[in-house]
C-alpha cells in the first residue's frame, strides 16, 4: 500500500499489536484517539484467517494504518502466532519502504512477575546505533538481557537487516493480565520521543474498565504467546 504523504519532517512509524499486558494495544490506540489520527489504509498479511470488525456499521480490517503529519501508525487488533508474525513483520517493512519511513518505534510489554509498587519501568532496544541517542536523550535505559520471541522478535529480525532503524519500547507489565498502568509510561515515553504533548488523564480514569473490557483479547494473546514460546523451545536432542 502506498500513501502519498511526502513531508519535510522525518516520517516515523509507530507499531502496536497485542502482547504482554496489551501495552502496545492500549498505548497505540490511545495515541490514535488522542491525536485524532485518520485511518488511511489497511495492511494485509498473507494467509491470515479472515477477520473483520464492525464499528458503527463500518467494516474494519484487523491491521490498520493511521497517519497525521509525519506520524504513521500500524495497529493490529489480532495477536499473531509465529507463522503470521513473520508475515506481519515483512508487511510492516514493505510499508516503510513504500512510504519513506525513516524510523519505527514498536511498543510492547515485558512481563515482570515481581512488579514493584512504584510506577512501571520502561526499557529500549535498538536495531541501529543511530537510535542510541534517542534512548540517551529521553532517559530510556537499554534492555540489556533477556530473550525475545513472537512478533517483537520477528520485527526486530527483519529490521536489523534493513536500513530502516527500529526502536522497541518494553514497558514492565503484568505478564498475564491487561495492564493499562504500564501503557501510561509507554505513552509518556512516546510523547517524549515524538516531542508532542499527550495528556494521560483519560486513560487513567478508564484503567479499571479497560481491564474488564479487554479480558478476552488478553486471554487470546496469552494463548498465542504460550504457543509461540512452546514452538521456540530448542532442547538439545540428547535431553529429549
Amino acid at each position: 500500500m502506498k500513501i502519498s504523504k511526502p513531508d519535510t519532517q522525518e516520517n516515523t512509524l509507530l507499531v502496536g499489536f497485542p502482547s504482554n499486558g496489551l501495552v502496545g494495544t492500549f498505548s497505540i490506540s490511545y495515541l490514535i484517539h488522542h491525536l485524532k489520527m485518520k485511518q488511511v489504509g489497511e495492511i494485509e498479511v498473507a494467509d491470515l484467517p479472515a477477520t473483520l470488525f464492525v464499528e458503527r456499521g463500518e467494516i474494519l480490517g484487523p491491521i490498520r494504518v493511521y497517519s497525521k503529519k509525519n506520524i504513521f501508525i500500524v495497529i493490529s487488533e489480532v495477536p499473531f502466532n509465529q507463522y503470521f508474525a513473520e508475515g506481519f513483520a515483512y508487511a510492516v517493512h514493505e510499508f516503510c519502504q513504500k512510504n519513506g519511513i525513516k524510523k519505527i518505534v514498536i511498543v510492547s510489554g515485558m512481563g515482570a512477575v515481581n512488579q514493584s509498587k512504584e510506577a512501571p519501568k520502561i526499557y529500549g532496544l535498538v536495531t541501529d546505533q543511530i537510535l542510541e541517542s534517542v534512548l540517551y536523550n529521553n532517559g530510556i535505559p537499554k534492555f540489556l538481557e533477556g530473550s525475545i520471541f513472537g512478533v517483537d522478535a520477528a520485527i526486530i529480525s527483519v529490521f536489523r537487516k534493513s536500513k530502516i532503524p527500529a526502536l522497541v519500547l518494553y514497558a514492565e507489565c503484568h505478564p498475564f493480565f491487561p495492564d493499562p498502568e504500564a501503557s501510561i509510561i509507554a505513552i509518556e515515553t512516546l510523547a517524549k520521543i515524538l516531542d508532542i504533548q499527550i495528556e494521560t488523564q483519560d486513560i487513567q480514569n478508564r484503567m479499571e474498565k479497560l481491564r474488564i473490557q479487554y479480558r478476552n483479547l488478553m486471554e487470546e494473546t496469552i494463548r498465542t504467546l504460550q504457543h509461540n514460546q512452546e514452538q521456540g523451545k530448542r532442547t538439545p536432542q540428547i535431553y529429549r
Binding site: V113, K121, E145, H174, F177, R211, R215, Q226
Partner: protein, 127 residues
Amino acid sequence: MKNNDFEFKITLPIITPLLDDIEQRILSPLSCLREYDNYWMVEFDLPMVGKKNIRVTFNQNTITVEAKLREKYSEERLGKITKFEYFKKSVLLPGKIDSKKITSKFEKGRLEIKIPKKTDGTSIKIN
C-alpha cells in the same frame, strides 16, 4: 534492572477460559495458576472491586473467588446491554496442597493466593 524481576517458572501458567454468566450477571475474571518449587500461585484480576467485597472459599482442591463490583459494568453483546454485578470463578489445583498455610494479598485490583504444596513423599536410599 534486576534479574530476579523476571519470572523463572517451572511450567507455563495455566490460563482458565472465561465463561461469563449473562443470566446471573456474573463476569468470569482472568486468572492464572503458576507452579513453583514449593507452592502454587493463583492470581485473579479483579478491577472495580474493593478488598472487603471479595470472598474466597476452598473445597478439596478447588479454590473459588467471588467478588461484588463497586459499580455495575455494562457491556453490549449481540445488541443487548448486560449490566454485570459480580465476578466469580473456580480454579482446580492439580496437586496436593496444604490448606492451613494458604496466604493471600490484594493489591492494585489483583488477588494473589499462595498455596503451599503438601509433601508426603518417602526418601529413597542411595546405595
